[in-house]
Amino acid sequence: MTMLLLLFIFVLSIFLGLELIGKVPSQLHTPLMSGSNAISGISIVGALAATAIHGTFGTILGVLAVAFATINVIGGYLVTDRMLAMFKTGKKD
């Protein structure tokens, strides 16, 4: 039953995702890409849970997953913010 619910959430998310990014102006393509790229670091949640695995090898996999997911999350958000900070309009300054 849990799996069915998760499938249900998945299917609805597809439609939500397709609707969400309908028309994006081209100057935002890069920030949108790197911003959504940072979100894909959400696998950090799975990585954190994986460290609960007992046994050395499982822990090693978990820690590696945490480290790589963190690179994705921290790097992704910071770099997106750096780019967006540069977008200026001619009206100000």
Binding site: L6, L16, L20, L28, H29, G35, A69, I74, L78
Partner: protein
């Protein structure tokens, strides 16, 4: 406690949705990124409330990963942004692959749906990982940017995909005895990521990067089914869908079908156009170019990857300021696939403080191109190649381009007469109203700007 954690996941999924929505508009984009980051923080904190985690090692992982990510994001130059995004993307894919693998270690006898999810998480995660690393290597010029082709490439790829699928099916049916098969699937998937990206040329990288972005979302989604976690499923699906939409936009801008991309081997142009190129190449000196620009009242810059290589964006902005002071209207026509990632040129020009209102898309500028006095092409080639409009035999035929050949005068700033990444000759260089300004783009632009300065000082 479980209820608190799950409620937090709902909130963070909501924040991701709002964040992505806000990223789609210039005015709200920066706040949108912040909103989505808060959602991520919430998801991480909530997960830490789970019992039985190994907190010592978690801190090690967070500190190491955080330091690397922070350093990389702070140190990267804007011109190197495409390869950086590729690397971040690769580490996300790798993390999802490891999550799938670790879950099998925890429970070597998962139920059917979970084992299918493990298979997909390692497959897609591994492809996103090595595919992104190869994309990085191509963009950072650690390896050739040209397509790498070998005989029987397609059958080999098909064999690897087929092999991974067959092993995957056996794994899914009998997980407890199939650890070896899972390891082989991981290995095959890593190889597949490499083979999928090496035949793709540098100019097609915008498509590859956005596709890899989509894959890393799908990998996170699969990992979500592995650990039965709704926030992973929602976030992964959102990224997968948005990446697919972006990929589709890029494909349209290059006149390629998505299927053509997915089954790779693209970017490898083997047939050149047969239309005879007529006319002669007319070089121009910076001084003569200055006189023409000085008299112009409407100027359009068309940047391409060459501007990124020469790091000429600041010089371009300086020249544009001079032109505006001189009374000319200045705009920048940006082709969606100019550069090496979606929106590459926009980021570089934003770095040089170009207001985004001056950035226009091909459809906005093409109808009035006849009214433009000078179009300055800076290191762009295929996106201004009129063969895409005129020559039905050209591999570029049908690709929407910026019609600079219809401007009154066109300057092409170029190092040499080499064709673009597609390897296709450009008839634009031989048109009667085209003038070639050979040399390094940054030097040429700076020379033009200093001509304006001298003239202003003399007046």
């Amino acid at each position: 406690m479980d209820t608190v954690i799950n409620l937090s996941y709902i909130v963070s999924a909501t924040l991701f949705v709002f964040g992505l929505k806000m990223l789609g508009r210039v005015e709200t984009a920066r706040r949108g990124n912040m909103v989505s980051a808060i959602g991520m923080l919430l998801a991480i904190v909530a997960t830490l409330l789970l019992g039985g985690l190994d907190y010592t090692w978690i801190i090690v992982g967070l500190v190491v990963g955080g330091a690397v990510g922070w350093w990389a994001a702070a140190a990267v130059k804007m011109t190197q942004m495409p390869e950086m995004v590729a690397l971040f993307n690769g580490s996300g894919g790798l993390a999802s692959m490891l999550v799938g693998w670790a879950e099998y270690i925890r429970d070597p006898n998962p139920d059917l749906v979970t084992s299918i999810a493990i298979f997909f998480a390692v497959l897609v995660g591994a492809v996103a990982f090595t595919g992104s690393v190869i994309a990085w290597a191509k963009l950072a010029e650690r390896m050739t940017g040209k397509p790498i082709l070998f005989k029987g490439q397609q059958p080999v790829n098909a064999l690897i995909v087929g092999g991974a699928l067959v092993l995957g099916i056996i794994f899914v049916i009998t997980p407890p005895t199939s650890y070896g098969l899972l390891l082989i699937v991981i290995l095959l998937s890593l190889i597949l990521g490499v083979l999928a990206v090496i035949p793709i040329g540098g100019a097609d990288m915008p498509i590859v990067i956005s596709l890899m972005n989509s894959y890393s979302g799908v990998a996170a989604l699969a990992a979500g089914f592995v650990i039965q976690n709704n926030v992973l499923i929602v976030a992964g699906t959102l990224v997968g869908a948005s990446g697919l939409i972006l990929t589709n936009i890029m494909c349209k801008a290059m006149n390629r079908s998505l299927a053509n991309v997915l089954f790779s081997g693209f970017g490898a142009v083997t047939t050149a156009g047969t239309m005879k190129v007529e006319g002669e190449v007319k070089p121009i000196t910076a001084e003569d170019a200055y006189y023409i620009l000085e008299a112009a009242s409407s100027v359009i810059f068309v940047p391409g990857y060459g501007m990124a290589v020469a790091q000429a964006q600041h010089a371009v902005k300086e020249l544009a300021d001079m032109l505006e002071k001189n009374g000319a209207e200045v705009r920048y026509a940006i082709h969606p696939v100019a550069g090496r990632m979606p929106g590459h040129m926009n980021v570089l020009l934003a770095e040089a403080n170009v207001p985004y209102e001056q950035l226009v898309e091909p459809d906005d500028v093409n109808p009035t191109m006849e009214l433009v006095d000078v179009a300055v092409v800076i290191g762009a080639n295929d996106v201004v190649n009129p063969a895409a409009r005129e020559d039905t035999t050209s591999p570029l035929y049908g690709m929407p381009i910026i019609n600079v050949d219809q401007a009154r005068t066109t300057f092409v700033l170029k190092r040499s007469m080499n064709p673009g990444f597609s390897g296709v000759d450009n008839p634009l260089f031989f048109k009667p109203n085209t003038r070639m300004l050979f040399g390094d783009a940054k030097t040429s632009i700076s020379t033009l700007a200093s001509e304006f300065k001298e003239a202003a000082a003399a007046a």
